[in-house]
């Protein structure tokens, strides 16, 4: 059982232009009894590279579907460059790599690119698309004769066809090996360097850390932290305090200073701390019987898991 006690309010350090790239306010979406997105507010300025980070079922894909106009929110407002998502998409201002992504098996890569080019009012020249996505060698290959990494590169190519101002990527590297990942992020970086906006969903903290300049942490359909990558890193990259305590109460432990999350297994207590010095002092004052105290550096991923852990049931989006 884990309890999240500290949440960062959405950061104010990011400039909000009058016409942001992405604007979500009070957005909610349920599927039957399951609430996938439970009131998200998010503003992204043009030029930002934002990672939407969270475990499976946190609502990442549902949020992305809504900002692409693939799903209508039950409540709240979604705007892309001040327009309705479907309008922005049809005008080619948004490109997307969606999560589930097969390609039709009967068309070649070149035919796919040409097809998608024909479906936008304006698009990049074919050669430029092929070169940017590094798929020049795959043009005569059929859609079903590609490896996982190659498929993702082709899907990236299709996403940049309209030369979009905003690129949305839903777990783009999920099916890739390490090498493909590096190639992918390299072409991504190159693409984003010209000041375009990128929003990508991932459940790899490393990826968010390496590529984004802002991280939005989702848990159970809510934003639990939103800030510059360095801030989130500080929050996530704290220390772990372990001790043995016979009468541990989650609420009491969670209210200690400097605690980000608490988990209790029998008499064993494990806390993720942003300020372990303050925590250990307060711990001994309030629980003098605490013993076997151990403080260690928390792994980045471990801390991230603690931050986004779901206390109740898992939600499937």
């Amino acid at each position: 059982m884990k309890l999240l006690t500290t949440t960062q309010p959405p950061t104010t350090s990011h400039r909000r232009s009058l016409q942001g790239a992405v604007h979500l306010s009070g957005v909610q979406k349920s599927f039957g009894q399951t609430c996938a997105v439970d009131g998200i507010d998010l503003d992204i300025s043009p030029g930002e590279i934002v990672a939407l980070l969270g475990p499976n079922g946190a609502g990442k894909s549902t949020a992305i579907d809504m900002l692409l106009g693939l799903t209508d929110p039950d409540a709240g407002d979604v705007r892309i460059f001040g327009e309705a998502p479907t309008v922005a998409a049809s005008r080619g201002r948004v490109g997307a790599m969606l999560q589930s992504g097969g390609l039709p098996s009967e068309l070649t890569v070149l035919e796919l690119v040409e097809l998608i080019r024909a479906l936008y009012p304006t698009s990049l020249p074919t050669d430029e698309v092929l070169e940017r996505a590094r798929i020049g060698d795959l043009t005569s290959r059929r859609g079903d004769k590609l490896s996982g990494g190659q498929t993702q590169r082709v899907r990236f190519a299709l996403a940049i066809v309209p030369d979009p101002d905003l690129l949305v990527l839903d777990e783009p590297t999920a099916a890739m090996d390490v090498e493909s990942r590096q190639v992918f992020w390299a072409s991504m970086r190159e693409w984003a360097s010209s000041g375009r906006t990128v929003l990508f969903a991932t459940h790899y903290l490393e990826e968010a850390d390496n590529f984004a300049d802002r991280i939005v942490l989702l848990r159970q359909g809510r934003v639990v932290a939103d800030g510059a990558t360095t801030e989130i890193r500080a929050l996530a990259g704290g220390r772990t305090l372990r001790c043995t305590l016979s009468h541990a109460d989650l609420d009491g432990l969670g209210s200690l200073p400097g605690v980000a999350s608490v988990s209790v297994h029998g008499h064993g207590v494990s806390m993720t701390c942003t300020d372990s010095d303050a925590t250990v002092r307060a711990l001994l004052e309030r629980y003098p019987e605490a013993h076997d105290i151990e403080i260690g550096g928390a792994g980045l991923n471990e801390a991230f898991l603690a931050l986004t852990a779901t206390p109740g049931e898992e939600i499937h989006s």
Binding site: G101, E106, L107, L115, L119, Y120
Partner: protein
């Protein structure tokens, strides 16, 4: 824009082995096996060869038009329809493009069987009569196109082939495409005439012999188009709303 999309859809179908087998090869083989040699016997006012030629042409064209359903279900499964929805292609244009491709690839199915009829079984018609026969069959296939779209949005990709196979085998059998309806008992004939496929072939045969399908046939086809079209529209809307 939609032109490129439709051309691309047609090209995809021509590369689909399922289409090549069921819509092109099978009708041709069945006609050659059962219809080609029957040019001296007569049935319903035309030669048995011509009768079976129209049945097989209808069967092939029906497979083509119905293949829309498989394409839609498959694209839903791999998420390709979502990729298209974030372009400027509207949902209606997506369905219309699929429907158009279905009818476009039905033309070769018809032409091949007609050519076999002319070359192997002395079915000689004026160019206008051939055209009218083909167009009558295509127009009468509208309810099948609607059924294809409906199935495409209702069925899962894993089951769509089985469902399609079952549905059009049943429709072909009850439409008298495999066995002439004259061998059916009366009560079966009543069912046959309440279903659309009998009238599709009938539209072809009547056009071939210089007549037309008649009001009863038009009425049955129109009612089925309305029912299946409404079902298809509802399934499409529900699908677009829930992504």
């Amino acid at each position: 824009m939609t032109g490129t999309y439709m051309r691309s859809e047609v090209r995809r179908t021509f590369r689909n082995p399922r289409y090549l087998i069921f819509a092109l090869a099978m009708p041709l083989i069945l006609f050659a096996a059962f219809g080609a040699a029957q040019s001296h016997n007569h049935l319903s006012g035309i030669t048995v060869s011509a009768y079976i030629m129209v049945s097989m042409a209808t069967f092939g064209a029906m497979s083509s038009v119905f293949s829309t359903g498989g394409a839609i279900a498959f694209e839903r499964a791999i998420g390709w329809n979502r990729q298209l929805r974030i372009t400027a292609l509207t949902g209606r244009a997506y369905v219309a493009g699929k429907g158009f491709a279905g009818f476009a690839v039905a033309v070769p199915s018809l032409v091949l069987v007609f050519m076999a009829g002319a070359l192997l079984s002395h079915v000689h018609l004026s160019a206008g009569r051939w055209l009218l026969t083909g167009v009558s069959i295509l127009l009468a296939l509208l309810p099948v196109a609607a059924l294809g779209v409906w199935v495409g949005y209702m069925a899962k990709a894993q089951s769509v082939q089985a469902i399609s196979g079952g549905v059009y085998s049943l429709l072909s059998l009850l439409g008298g495409l495999w066995v002439p309806v004259t061998v059916f008992p009366h009560w079966v004939l009543d069912i046959v005439k309440a279903l659309p496929i009998y009238w599709v072939a009938q539209a072809g045969r009547q056009a071939l012999s210089g007549s037309w399908v008649g009001w009863e046939g038009v009425a049955v086809l129109a009612v089925w188009t309305a029912i299946l079209g409404a079902g298809a529209a509802r399934a499409y809307k529900r699908n677009s709303a829930s992504s």
